[in-house]
Amino acid sequence: MSPEVPPSTRRALLRAGAGGLLGAAVAGCGFMPAKTPDAKDLAPPRARVDGDLVYFNWADYVDPSVFKGFEKEYGVKVVQSNFDSMEGMVAKLNAGNRYDVIFPSAKWAQRLARGGRLRRIDHSQITRAKDVFGAYPYFADPWYDPGSAHTVPFTAYKTGIGWRRDRLGDLSGSWRDLWNDAARGKVFLLDDRDEVLGMGALELGLDVSTGDSGDLDRITRLLAGLRPRLRGFSSDSYNNLLNGNALMTQAWSGDMAAMLNQAKDPSVFGFEAPKEGTPINSDCYAIPWNAPHPGTAMLFIDYMLRPENVKKNIEYIGYPMPVAGSEKVYAALVEPFPECLVTEADLKADLFFRNGSRTAEDARDTAWTHVKAG
């Protein structure tokens, strides 16, 4: 008996190992979507109460009192969950999680719509569709979703430079300001591939989402010169400015507007939209193909577009929304930073980050590694 004991455990281990391999093979299939949507899954839903709302967005991106109002008016509950990146959101969707309303950025909205992952949205079901698509013709037929067939725009924002006016004075209004000697060692760039490469591209007069390796080499060389002046890559732009670690930082307009709420004296800060051009982005509402309650999701979008709710949300998150009548609210909010405003002309300049081919995306990824790791 006794001499057999060690071999038997070894066999058991081997068997367990084989089981594990099998398990891995089965789990591996999870990477593929279990079911592909058919025409019925993608048909536009009617706006009606068909259950609680399963909401999936960045944390703190809607005023909580708006949720309360929605729950009270329609007698449903809002089940909230949050993502911390677009990639994280899409990974959850692909893994088969079901949500009623999601908030992808333009680039991701295009990918999801093209991939057949979004339900169509019937504009006639939304009471105030005209306030959005009529007042902002750009969004009536945006590049990321022809005819806005699957999305309704939620926010629009741009990328510029935030700085400490009390320490640096006025800037020249160009991306070159990041090379300012007075700020050397206290400059942050966003920890975001597209934003950093896009800034370099604009400074050199190239396409903002270029995937050309010659262009990317030029951008990498340009940014290698900026690197010794940087303190770091961080997307926490407003905290860096507030706590004094940054004198200057690449920043999203909405974050700078939100900073105004936190700052004791807003006049010590500045925000500029550089003249070479500023990347523009927008987040939108979308309903995934497997949403359990698409009707409630339609009602929610409708509710969010009511003027009083738009006002509350703008004041809560600091991002402008392309809804007629909300412009004054936002202008008042960002009075110290007029360049935070996103106009129709800004949208028409069309400096959105676009999806590239796989090779282009890989080239951008390699360039980003070189910019970041030096």
């Binding site: 008996m1 006794s2 004991v5 038997s8 455990t9 058991a12 281990l13 367990a16 190992g17 089981g19 594990g20 391999l21 398990g23 891995a24 789990a27 591996g28 990477f31 593929m32 990146s85 990639e87 994280g88 899409v90 692909n94 990918r111 999801l112 093209r114 991939g115 992952r117 060692g185 975001d192 591939r193 690197r227 940087l230 303190r231 770091g232 890559f233 706590n243 004094g244 670690n245 796989r358 995306e361 890989d362 990824d365 390699t366 980003w368 590694t369 070189h370 970041k372 790791a373 030096g374």
Partner: protein, 303 residues
């Protein structure tokens, strides 16, 4: 902790391999839940990562199985080797600093802690129940330019307006040491706790000075605890990305940051997997060194 108990467990097994080995069968059944757990969640996910190394990515950014060696070829980029070497340097430095900090602490508590021993160990361990990320975030506030530490240093004239800790190598290593020092203190404490104090007394009786006694009696007796501590600190420090993210600048990026970037922003899981495998290879070499060392120690102890 498994590492820590490793030597004693193998010793007891060798003792039991005698006449009463039938009892060992039961013990091997007790290993079943652990084995299943590890194969299910550790080995299987490792296999997935290994397979994805040669996978591809589709238009939606999803990883796909396939056979494509481009991710492995991409590893030849000098940027990765440089960052890997930097991570190795940071991790080794972190180990050394942790050892220097932890030894006196563990020594004092184990030998002079008296009835406060357990309370003192709890005082060290309890703060580590707080989430690592939260602690690091707090640390980054403490070290920030207008934070309490630099303000105090400026007050006593040790720093000027331009001194900074955040976003430097010092900041990253400080974060790593703070994050993982407890993994060094606990095994050292366990080793020192087990140490027979009469050995030290014997050393003294044989006219060894305090330094000689320490070097030739205490230190060799706690070598295994130190080795376990070194491994426990080295492994997580090498793969860490939080410290470099919150306390590093552009020149302090570690391999963990690059791997995280590939899985998230880059949407390039195959390259992320390839980098993970490269990192594991480096760690494996370190572990082999450790295992050889402990086996040699065991062989010596048995003789």
């Amino acid at each position: 902790m498994a590492l820590l108990r490793h030597p004693s467990r193998s010793r007891s097994r060798s003792r039991r391999r005698g006449p009463d080995a039938s009892g060992a069968r039961i013990w091997s059944w007790f290993m079943l839940p652990g084995t299943l757990w590890m194969t299910g969640f550790l080995i299987a996910s490792l296999v997935l990562v290994a397979v994805l190394t040669v996978g591809t990515t589709d238009e939606l950014g999803n990883p796909r199985f396939g056979f494509d060696l481009s991710s492995i070829r991409a590893l030849a980029d000098p940027a990765y080797t440089e960052v890997l070497a930097r991570s190795l340097g940071y991790a080794l430095l972190t180990c050394v600093i942790c050892l220097v900090i932890a030894y006196p602490v563990a020594y004092t508590i184990a030998l002079y802690g008296g009835r406060w021993k357990h309370a003192l160990i709890a005082a060290i361990v309890v703060p580590f129940f707080a989430n690592y990320l939260v602690r690091m975030y707090g640390w980054s506030v403490v070290l920030s330019d207008d934070g309490p530490l630099l303000r105090a240093l400026r007050g006593v004239g040790l720093a000027d307006a331009n001194t900074k800790i955040l976003n430097t190598g010092v900041g990253v290593i400080a974060g790593l040491v703070y994050g993982f020092v407890v993994f060094m203190i606990i095994p050292l404490y366990a080793a020192l706790e087990r140490l027979d104090v009469s050995l030290i007394e014997a050393g003294r009786d044989l006219y060894g000075g305090p330094v000689r006694t320490f070097l030739f009696v205490t230190l060799p007796a706690t070598r295994q605890g130190a080795a376990a501590g070194l491994v426990l600190v080295f492994l997580p420090a090498m793969g860490d990305f939080v410290s470099a993210q919150l306390m590093g600048g552009p020149d302090q990026i570690m391999i963990g940051n690059l791997i995280q970037d590939k899985f998230f922003q880059g949407q390039n899981w195959p390259l992320g997997s390839a980098l993970t495998m490269l990192l594991m290879l480096v760690l494996l070499v370190g572990m082999l060194g450790y295992l050889r060392r402990t086996r040699k120690d065991e062989a010596e102890a048995r003789r």
